[in-house]
């Protein structure tokens, strides 16, 4: 029987959650026995090739490209997991949510103390994904099936959740592994 596939992505995140996936240490060898990786920065596969059992989403939705990728994950994955505070709450990028977008752009490109921008342009190339008005938690954009809290989630929490899901067991994390920081 073919191994189940998993996919991962980092939207508006810092890749810390992906580092925490790697933090399962030598259990990564057990993981590759259990699954094959499809679309993921870990193997640098850019588009989906197969239907996936599990998709791990790091980061929230800060721009239209994040939304496109997230919806693509929802279409291709049986189970979606929001991995970490940025996927669940918007995280650090969501600190801009109390400030109007135009003010954020003006501060970053025109008014900031270290800005050198004599042409006074705000980047507007069609190649650059448009920013959303605010940063959205993933579950406010698509249906998310599981949430792993933490900044980043503990490697043990990621491991136990993946193994439970891939072996059809209920996910029941011990108290010590539920942390919001």
């Amino acid at each position: 029987m073919a191994k189940p596939k998993i996919a991962t992505t980092s939207l508006a995140g810092c890749f810390g959650c992906h580092m925490s996936i790697l933090d399962i240490d030598e259990r990564i060898l057990e993981l590759v026995e259990l699954v094959d990786f499809d679309k993921s920065p870990i193997d640098d596969i850019k588009e989906f090739h197969h239907r996936c059992a599990v998709g791990l989403i790091e980061g929230g939705c800060a721009n239209e490209e994040n939304v496109r990728v997230l919806k693509d994950f929802r279409r291709h994955c049986d189970i979606l997991i929001s991995l970490g505070e940025c996927a669940i709450l918007g995280g650090i990028p969501a600190l801009r949510n109390t400030i109007p977008l135009q003010e954020c752009l003006d501060e970053a490109y025109l008014n900031g103390p270290s800005v050198y921008n004599p042409a006074k342009t705000i980047p507007n190339d069609p190649e650059i994904p448009l920013l959303l008005n605010k940063v959205y938690p993933c579950h406010e954009v698509v249906k998310i099936d599981y949430f792993l809290q933490g900044c980043p989630p503990r490697a043990d929490a990621i491991w136990e959740t993946l193994v439970a899901l891939l072996t059809d067991k209920p996910v029941d994390l011990p108290y010590d592994l539920i942390k919001y920081d």
Binding site: A94, L95, T98, K134, F147, Q149, Y180, D181
Partner: protein
């Protein structure tokens, strides 16, 4: 009724003896039964505002921190229906503020976060509000971060009743309600002091001392391994 008389009643099927004048919460604490709470604190007069401590008394919802004990009452506390109400209240407190636990100095020692851990909340079910709230860092030793304030009024009661000052008060109503200080505008212009009880009694990271940083390493913070309320429940397992 003579003061020595005890009042017998039942919480979650356990027979409890209380003294006249005690609240249900106080009697439960002494009996080693944990009723979740946020605005209540053993050194403060009850405020009855957060409703986390809601129990059913003979089937009717009452706040355990304000409701006096009475003979023969049957109190339900740890039941799914109430725990779901508590989860909803906690969810609302999270989405109505801006709680970035990952950089909050209170994380690991915070009662709001600890309750969410105890109830296994993995994500709030309500949409985040991302309200615009301000920080008052004018005082040399203390700051108020209103992004994290849950309006429990502990600081108000502590400043008034324990510190003998009136540094804090609520102003505004509904979503506009906030903790204000007893001065024209700034915390720096009040007589608040870093040793005031009002500071240490804040359950969250809203009223904080400056320059203490992340004092306890991860793994050695108050709620890292033991859920909130374990100390109270330990009394019961100790007495069998």
């Amino acid at each position: 009724m003579p003061m020595s008389q005890t009042i017998d009643f039942i919480i979650d099927g356990v027979e409890v003896s209380a003294r006249p004048g005690q609240t249900i919460l106080q009697a439960a604490d002494e009996a080693g039964i944990y009723i979740p709470r946020l605005c209540a604190h053993k050194d403060l007069v009850p405020h009855g505002s957060c409703r986390i401590c809601t129990v059913l008394v003979n089937g009717r919802p009452q706040s355990a921190c304000t409701q006096p004990v009475a003979p023969g009452i049957v109190v339900q506390n740890d039941i799914e229906k109430l725990n779901n109400v508590r989860r909803n209240i906690l969810d609302m407190l999270f989405v109505e503020g801006n709680h970035y636990c990952m950089f909050c100095e209170k994380s690991g020692n915070c009662e709001l976060q600890a309750l969410a851990y105890r109830f296994g909340i993995m994500a709030p079910k309500f949409p985040y509000q991302f309200p615009a709230r301000d920080v008052d860092a004018s005082h040399p030793d203390i700051y108020i971060d209103r992004n994290r304030c849950i309006l429990c009024a502990r600081c108000i009661r502590a400043s008034r009743d324990l510190d003998g000052k009136h540094v804090f008060e609520f102003v505004g109503r509904g979503p506009e309600k906030r903790v204000a200080v007893n001065a024209e505008a700034r915390l720096a212009d009040t007589d608040v002091d870093v040793t005031d009880k009002a500071l240490s009694i804040c359950p969250v990271g809203a009223l904080m001392r400056k320059r203490q940083g992340y004092a306890d390493p991860i793994g050695r913070r108050r709620y890292d391994h033991q859920p909130i309320g374990s100390d109270i429940e330990a009394k019961r397992s100790a007495t069998g």
